[in-house]
Amino acid sequence: MVVSICVGSACHLKGSRDLVELLKNAIEKHNLSEEVTLTGSFCLGECNRNGVTIQVDGEICPGVTVEEFPEFFQTKILDQLGKGAT
């Protein structure tokens, strides 16, 4: 699974860096580093008022915020990989 986080101008100002940290930590915590590749990307063309655009494989998820991150990680990453809640 390839997860790319937008680090373009707008997303950067809305906190890409924090989300990169959150993702790195969450991936480590769930021992997913073998399965998930983290990468950056520039504008994915789905800019939103709030939050950062993250692309999971082909699917673009705009507007991910730090508050919504746990839900995003659960539904878009853990569920997709077939890992249950922990």
């Binding site: 373009g8 100002l13 860096r17 800019c47």
Partner: protein, 391 residues
Amino acid sequence: MNDLCADIGYKSINHYGEQLCGDHVDVVEQEDGSTVIVLADGLGSGVKASILSTLTSKILSTMMAAGLSVQDCVSTMVATLPVCSVRGVAYSTFTIIHLLDNHTAELIQYDNPHIILLRNGKATPYQKTEHRVDNKKIFFSTIPLQEGDVFLAMSDGCPHAGIGNTFNFGWKEEDIADFMELITPIGYTAKTLATMLVDECDRLYDSKPGDDATACVVRIRRREPMNVLFGPPANRDDSGRMMSLFFSREGKHIVCGGTTASIAANWLGKQLEVKLNFELDGEVPPIGSIEGVDLVTEGVITINKVLEYAQDYVSDNLAYQQWSLGRDGASLISRMIFEEATDINFYVGRAVNPAHQNPDLPINFNIKMNLVKELSECLKKMGKHVKISYF
């Protein structure tokens, strides 16, 4: 005409407690490609010295540039300078570097510490002929230029640094030459070299300089073009034209902006990869890479930081330690366009990015256009040739 050019930079520190500097550097560029650089050190310090040195450097640079003889210049200067009421003399020392078409340097030196010439990274002695003009001992030299030559002109505040404090007799000129031999080969700009030298003087003076100290560095280097692509074109159909013009130019290529980078990657048929390394406490977004492009960065935020560095560079040059070592996009661009480049071509796209029109974000279209304008002003002050093309 050859493909050499001169990178000129200088920096001064003031006598402790003084607001004005008694040293003055003046650079006059002629249309025929010759340049006159004058460093003058006025007697004493403060207002009086400042007036003396400013007058001296202005008179000499203007008259020399107009092609008048040194004899005339010096006698005009002596006749014009106001006489000091305390000491009964009108006096300012000077050093003139006259670069002819970037192939020969004429040095004319009066009472300042002698110019240090570094050739192939080593301090190199050169011939001086002594002449008497109006009873003043003036030294003349003519030196054919080579790529990599560095000329260091100083006021006596530099070799006097640390007198009776750090050193018994100040910072000896041989030791200054050693210091320069150490830092010159790294490739710093003239301004940075001058800053490093003067910073070292300030340190030796224990931050309380007993005299105004000035260093002026002239670096002879090869012309180095650099091309910067910033923003997608206002009309989508112009992308191909913009890319082919940009990539056909000689020199290195920098691409700034996310959308711009994807257009460039597309045009080249290469993959755009973006890294996730946040440097500089994440102030500037991470950089990317495209095969065939020398540097890929984010747009507005990165360029904004570059502009900050540029504005600092042309004033106090306090941030050079930050950008000369940093690995973030802004530092990388700064090193490439402040240090490496002599001619910079901007290819600026005028497309409006809908993501930037969010009133909550401190970026918008006008800011983007102003960034380029202000940055090119700063680059011109650094002595760079700048060309901007809009799309």
